[in-house]
Amino acid sequence: MELYLYLALFSPLAGSLFAALFGASPKTIVAGVVPSVLLFVSFVSSTILLLHILSGGDAVHVEMMTWMATGNLYIPFGFVVDQVSVTMMMVVTIVSTIVHVYSIGYMDHDKGFNRFFSYLSAFVFSMMVLVMSDNFAGLFIGWEGVGLCSWLLIGFWYEKESATWAANEAFIMNRIADLGMLIGIFLVYWNTGTLQYDKAFAEMQHLDTAILAWMGIFLFIGAMGKSAQFPLHTWLADAMEGPTPVSALIHAATMVTAGVYLVVRANPLYDLIPHVGLFIASLGAFVALFAASMALVNRDMKRIIAYSTLSQLGYMFVAAGLGAYWVALFHLMAHAFFKALLFLGAGNVMHAMHNELDPFKMGGLRKVMKGTFIMMTLASVALAGIYPLAGFWSKDLILEVAMIEHHYIIYSVLLFTAGLTAFYSFRLVALVFHGEERYKLFGVHPHEAYKFMLIAMSPLLILAIIAGAFKMTYFEMVTQVLPATEYHIHSALTYWIMTIGTQLFVILAIAYAYKKYQVAKEDPAMEKRLCYKILINQYYIPYFYEEYLVKPYRELSTIFWKQVDMKIVDATVDGIAKTIYATGEKTREMQSGNLSTMLKWMVAGTVGLLSLAVVFGLAARYSDEIKVFLSGLGV
């Protein structure tokens, strides 16, 4: 099994390095095919590992070599394939293999074709390290690695100012969270003496809750950055500047879910600190609603999907925060499939529309892009959580969890958000595929994507439809390591009311979206409303960051340089030197060159000494009298 582990882990790296060899040469199809094949190898290896685990095999645990060892610290490159990580591996390898194949078509005309595959495979490698590592440090390697690849890929079209800006924003914002993560790791190390998951978690059972709470909080801060939770969420929407396959793979299916994975992985810790878990759940619920609200009015296809991702991440955190780790992981998996599909479909649309992103300029595309239309619609249905598609099984479960744990506010928020989700998803579908063919005004001639791209997408489609069927198998598998709480509403009636109610609510939302956007028209009245303005400006948060964080930082930096460093610190040093020099310039007049003056100086010196001598001599001679005198003065 170790061989498969290494194969699964290192084939993406090999693919990346292979593509990198062609980095500076013109486009060659080999640079795309070989990494894809290698990823497929990785996928197959992961499947074998999955089957091994499913068949009741032990977790595969290897320690490749020492990384850092000093003092008591010992960090190996250790990898573990257990029920949780194999799930993630499957998600990662499936989606990434598909995205790779898809990208061969998508990036067909791009001059950075080879480079793109190098980055993309590197990303997959980092992601694999992240999920397979058996310790926090290894996790952090992957964590930073995916951040780096995300930076490279968001800024892939580096000639675009907005792309590079978004890349840097994503990197820096993630770094802020990574600091939290790092501190969390330090806390783990100094309190448990190890960074290995198993040992550390075992040790945590004996620790003080306060310390555990801090650990949980700091690790979660790390998760907030990667998973773009409020207030570190702005980068995700901006990250849509990257090529669409990147958005599908990184910013929908895998990297952004790393935060959820971390919480799931650290479940023994979060189990001990339910109050932190509650905070995570509440934040998740808030983000779910918050992101969905921004998706309602947005006029950028990819951003709408990005907000939807954000919203779904909120769902996952609700589940994870409430201790339903397996539910969170399940939704993660289901979401990866349909959201990647949605993005890839959006990629097709973009290609067809020559990189146009505003759905108001599209419409009626279902005629020319039948395959894409079907896939995106089904993906949206899955996203909306309609029975029996993947989203129903996973999302409904989260609602139930909230209900059963008696967090009714969270439940209502999530329920409401489910409606919003359905609305904005179908708003998009309606605007893009139905109604008038508005694109004709812009002289665009859309065409369907390459066939092999559609074929590549089809496994995702299938998974998006049938993922729910794996629920029980999955449950049995992961609950060997995760807390096996089954969430069943005790009363069957309530269960049915809830389920059917939810379904109805969602379908209504879909119908409303269709009705409203079947005929797309600009709505100036709405656009003047305050709430629209707030939503379209993303609650003015990016503005706030720019005005009150970025600008002051820039200005403060300049002040530090020009005023503090140059005018105070350096000027002090130079000032000392200059003062000494100026003293010399001033007092050199003493040396007038006139013999008379020189003689006077000598005499003056002597007389000065003499008077000092006399004073001292008198003081010595009359010391008794002086003492008497002084005591008379009361000294």
């Binding site: 040396q591 007038s592 060159g593 006139n594 013999l595 008379s596 005499v603």
Partner: protein
Amino acid sequence: MIEIGLTHYLVLSTILFAIGLFGVMRRKNLLLLFFATEILLNSVNIAFAAISHYYGDLTGQLFAFFVIAIAASEVAVGLGLLIVWHKRHGNINLDKMSTMRG
């Protein structure tokens, strides 16, 4: 009649020394400056002689003799320099003697 004692000699010596110092400071004429330095040395000679007598010890007078001899050679060297200076510049004014400064 006041008994002239050691103190008087010493006071005289000191006064002469002060006069010499004053001359050294005030004189702008090189030659007169030399006179002032001679006064300095000779004032000390008086004191040496007086102290020598006071202690009944010849060392002081010996010292005075050496001072006289040295003063004489000083004058020799000094006048030599003065004459060369006068030959070259036609003056013996101290204020004219400041090409080097700073």
